[in-house]
Amino acid sequence: MTEDTARDEGYDDFLDAVADGDGYYLACPNGHGWLPPRRVCPECGAREFSDRPLSATGTVTAVSTVHVAAPQFADDTPYAVALAEFGPVVLTGQLPSHAPEDVTPGLTVAPTVLESDTTGDRLLGFDPV
């Protein structure tokens, strides 16, 4: 899967923005938040979105330490993968630089862009703050 070179429009733009410290999400007029790409709000059907700044910090709501990974993360194990709430959006990200046992629900994190040790591919991560 790593041989794919085309960008994923929308999501790669989002990662670029997170890497630049300008993370954003798509907000529909009714306040529902999503990651790109989206053409319609799955919650209310609205088709107009505005870019809103992603909160600088979020809160971990659930975390697991992965010991058996897919090949593209084989050299990264063990790593913590977590859901973290940033206002109206919940992101899935990795916390490789942190001891997995220290990542617990309630932890405050900032979004970041990481590189897989295995493939060098970039991915969404969280930095504890």
Binding site: L35, A62, S64, T65, H67, A70, V81, V90, T92, G93
Partner: protein, 388 residues
Amino acid sequence: MTGVRVAGVGLTEFGVHPERTTRDLFAEAGLAALDDAAIPRDDVEAVLYGNFMSELSERQGHSGPLMAEALGLSVPATRVESACASSGMAARLAVRQLRAGEADVVVVGGAERMHNVSTARATEALAIAADALYEVSAGLTFPAAYALMAERYFQEYGGTHEDLAHIAVKNHANAVGNDYAQFQREISVAEVLDAQPIATPLTLLDSCPITDGAAALVLVSEDYAADHDVATPVAITGSGQGGDRMALGDRDSIARTPAATAAAEEAYADAGRGPADVDLAEVHDCFTIAEVLALESLGLFEEGTGIDAAPAGVTGPDGDRPVNLSGGLKAKGHPVGATGASQLVEATRLLRGDHHNADAVPDAEVAVTHNAGGTVASAVVHVLEVTR
């Protein structure tokens, strides 16, 4: 609208068969189902085939006609993909086709070949049932996704890993004597807790195995069964399907599975039955926590109480609500594309009385099957009833 009856069922042994192709596996299960039904092959009008990952494991797509050919049939055939719910969805489509009067005899089932690739590759293949952009790219594996669901469940309702371990223990014990099951051996709570960690808190023994295998059923219209004097003690009386957002982060709660709740409500209404009528259930326990979520979505236990069922023995063979008497995905095995059909096969045999655990439910009249795709972004539930 005609009713739908089960004329025949067939399974392969579930287990480690890396050398066996899906076409060979499905042919064995399908021919067994046709033999069980004792219906002339010329009467079969369609094949619906569930499969998840043959493109990745065998570099084989377009499996519908291939599987019809494997059964020696020249009929319209369609492959159905809905991750781990592929053949449950195929069965639902067959039920609807029969009810609509578009066919009188349909072969439905599924197969999966998984051991011809490495565990890492199989893990990668399974992960494609999650959201590739928002989840898999960040290293979320399938066990990790269910681990997050377990963590949220514990936070919202309480419960411990030890409670979950009782589910694995129960389902392993149920598989002893099931000649089709991958693991026909008992395990202990301590073994579950001490097993290799996969994605905390889940260990290897909280997880269903990687499995090769196939399952098939011959479904017929009530009219066909009557006109041809085919013995069909079991009917599929209810069918329901539900859906949810793909990514866990985009759901209202990951401690519940509303797709399965919607599927169950539709299936019960369809059958004119309710949770109180259910005598036994075969549910999608791909990980121990998944059985808890299934029990609650099926309405068999109140929200937040499904975790207590196995430790209390309620879902055991001697309990009020036996669940996964086959051994479940956990011990019987989980050949992804075959699982939904295999649940229907096991439920049919339990109701017919020719199952190794049928003695546990001698008076059972109503069974439900619960088959989930991915992290339950898709779900299908069926109600089966026996006429004695």
